[in-house]
Symmetry: C2
Subunit: 399 residues, 2 copies
């Protein structure tokens, strides 16, 4: 029996206990041993839970029990979660998490402690929820030099964008509705301002390129600037608007990483990724583009990834899995301002004013306001022109 | 240095040598040791190849060289490939292959020999080419009871279907063109009759459900019965036609597995999978539907998967990866005739004749001939009615 302690009995924690219990037979077959939950740590009371006998309030119970080989951290944030993760690793326990904020900001340090203690620190669930993505990159695509990763990493923002696009409703209205339905949190800033995507880009880029970029160094723009007019204009030109996280390895070894709304081709699979689904494309120099699609969040999908990590640990109790990356500073990061792409622009200015500043502008017929597509420009070149115009909206085009 | 011998210097074999050579630095980092090709075995001469010094004609050279730890079999077929694989395993060597026919028909026996000899027999490249799919199922989704897998597994037939659909060209014309362009083989039966898909379904079902079904027990229908009229009718009704492989686990523990053209919803990602691309969906009871998309064939994508397996072996030289399945006979297989789905039917008969046999028929307006969609029927029920009508075409609908 491999004993597990689950820290935090929220959405993901409940899902983990549920999956371990209901799929126990399949899990034992996959892991080669039975897996059981010995403790659930939460400061709250759950008198009606069928798992109430497993609940303890004091983390020290877990820390001091040598029977617990795996700790599942589903607390979230970087406070208590960081402290308990560190103490678990230092107590010689393997740790599995879905906490992208913690992995993105403290992952380097925690992986180093795990290595020193010869235990595993795994976090498949931190990117893409139930979609297998981190392990395929590190294992299946390990023969490739990864050139680029990009995709839709956040279900809440994609739900809002999809609803705006399909119903013509405003950002504010859809956000309120999403909050009422539980798809968006009361304080939705981490989602809608792109921070959640930014953390996931930091993690996936670190595993893809072997270099970790601090989330603070990743240029991040959310979805609050997208209007229904922009969506309609984009569709007239054969595009849809999606919030993408993107990381590219340059020929000079520097990484460009950023989060921003993009126009994507209507025919592409990523443009058909709707609602709370995520879709992540990885470009390897041998395999070309491969895409992973599925539910990027939710109790059971996320639990599926967490328990997959626990099963993997069951086979790596003696010889840990060697996962890691170099920490890298601003010198390894190329500013997103240097990245050349086409742009979509909407402005209240007339066509003549546009032509004077953008001689290669291709106007969108029937658009609200004046809307046009530019040839390839880097942001540093185009920004002064957009200010001069001035532009009401400007988004990159992914080709 | 981990020494590899490549058997067969064709499309995939060349790709493997190319990837190992050109990505050597990345591969060494991923594997924790250098990986090098010591021999290439082929009965042909390649006087102009830059790898000609590695070429040997006699497999015994590889078999008798204890320095060779990994044999890559890219010969294809079940003759020499079977013999050399068996001899390699019995000589204590790990084997990696892209040979779906061999794995689907002799995999059970070869995996048993690998287990006995404590070596690995890996075959990620045998399904989905460069797409990570088998390892994600066995590792990442290991906490799930897999309920269903389905998808587009064959690039050649998808290329033909896509060209027929986009250009209105006939099956025969597009096939000739695909042969001229090297997308289809001179003898294309294995592809167009669905055999290649059938073998891949046998492998993915075995890993998903833990039970191996012989390809001969999998009902297999190819694409030669699809006409341009059917494609146009399908589009009028909001569908596209795709050749799908599909395997489902029933509540009674019996597996339904088959290959057939299906109508898929125009809005679905699988309907947007065009040309030589593959897309495979896996339904887990915790994670829900996840989809894997990418190049299902080709020299470098397939080599990417093969070399990924070699890298995995580098970490499992002492403790082999425990991959396997039960062999199961006809009793574990549910006939596809029992599976209930909606159907698309095209007939030269009039609407009254249709209504008499199919009271729930929903006619497609503007269709060539009379075309309609039925409610859910199993094949055993609907076949006699289709013969009586008679039907010109009849395909299942995937909802």
């Amino acid at each position: 029996m491999l004993n597990v302690a689950v820290l935090g009995f929220g959405t993901v924690g409940c899902g983990v206990v549920e999956v371990i219990t209901s799929n126990s037979e399949k899990i034992a077959k996959s892991a080669g041993c039975e897996i059981g939950v010995k403790y659930i740590v939460d400061i709250r009371d759950f008198p009606d839970s069928k798992y109430r006998e497993l609940l303890v309030k004091d983390f020290a119970t877990v820390e001091n029990d040598p029977d617990v080989r795996v700790v599942v951290e589903t607390i979230g944030g970087v406070g208590v979660a960081y402290e308990f993760t560190k103490r678990s690793l230092l107590a010689g326990k393997n740790v599995v998490t879905s906490n992208k904020e913690l992995v993105a900001t403290r992952g380097t340090e925690l992986l180093a402690i795990a290595k020193k203690m010869n235990v595993n620190y795994l976090f498949e669930a931190s990117v893409g929820g139930g979609i297998p993505i981190l392990r395929p990159i590190t294992l299946c695509l390990s023969a490739n030099r990864i050139e680029e990763v990009y995709g839709i990493f956040n279900g809440t923002t994609n739900y809002i964008i999809t609803a705006m696009s399909s119903r013509g409703a405003s950002f504010g209205d859809v956000l309120k509705e999403a909050q009422a339905m539980g798809y968006a949190e009361a304080n939705p800033a981490a989602d809608i301002e792109g921070l959640d995507t930014c953390r996931k880009v930091s993690i996936i880029a670190a595993l893809s390129f072997g270099k970790h970029i601090d989330p603070d160094l990743i240029s991040t723009e959310g979805i609050s600037g997208i209007t229904v007019e922009d969506m309609k204009n984009a569709e007239l030109a054969g595009y849809r608007i999606k919030l993408l996280g993107r990381a590219l390895m340059g020929a000079d070894g520097r990484i460009t990483a950023y989060v921003a709304p993009h126009l994507v081709n209507c025919g592409s699979l990523i443009s058909g990724t709707d609602g709370v689904m995520n879709a992540i494309t990885v470009r390897g120099n041998a395999t070309g583009d491969v895409m992973f699609y599925g539910p990027g969040a939710g109790s059971l999908p996320t639990a599926s990834a967490v328990v997959g990590d626990i099963i993997d640990i069951a086979g790596h109790l003696e010889k840990r899995k060697d996962i890691g990356w170099e920490d890298c500073g601003p010198d390894s990061v190329a500013g997103v301002g240097e990245l050349r792409t086409g742009w979509y622009v909407r402005t209240a200015a007339g066509k003549d004013a546009v032509k004077a500043l953008f001689p290669d502008a291709s106007f969108i017929d029937g658009a609200s306001y004046t809307a046009f597509i530019t040839g390839e420009n880097c942001a540093d070149e185009i920004r002064p022109l957009l200010e001069k115009l001035p532009a009401l909206s400007a988004f990159r085009i992914l080709d």
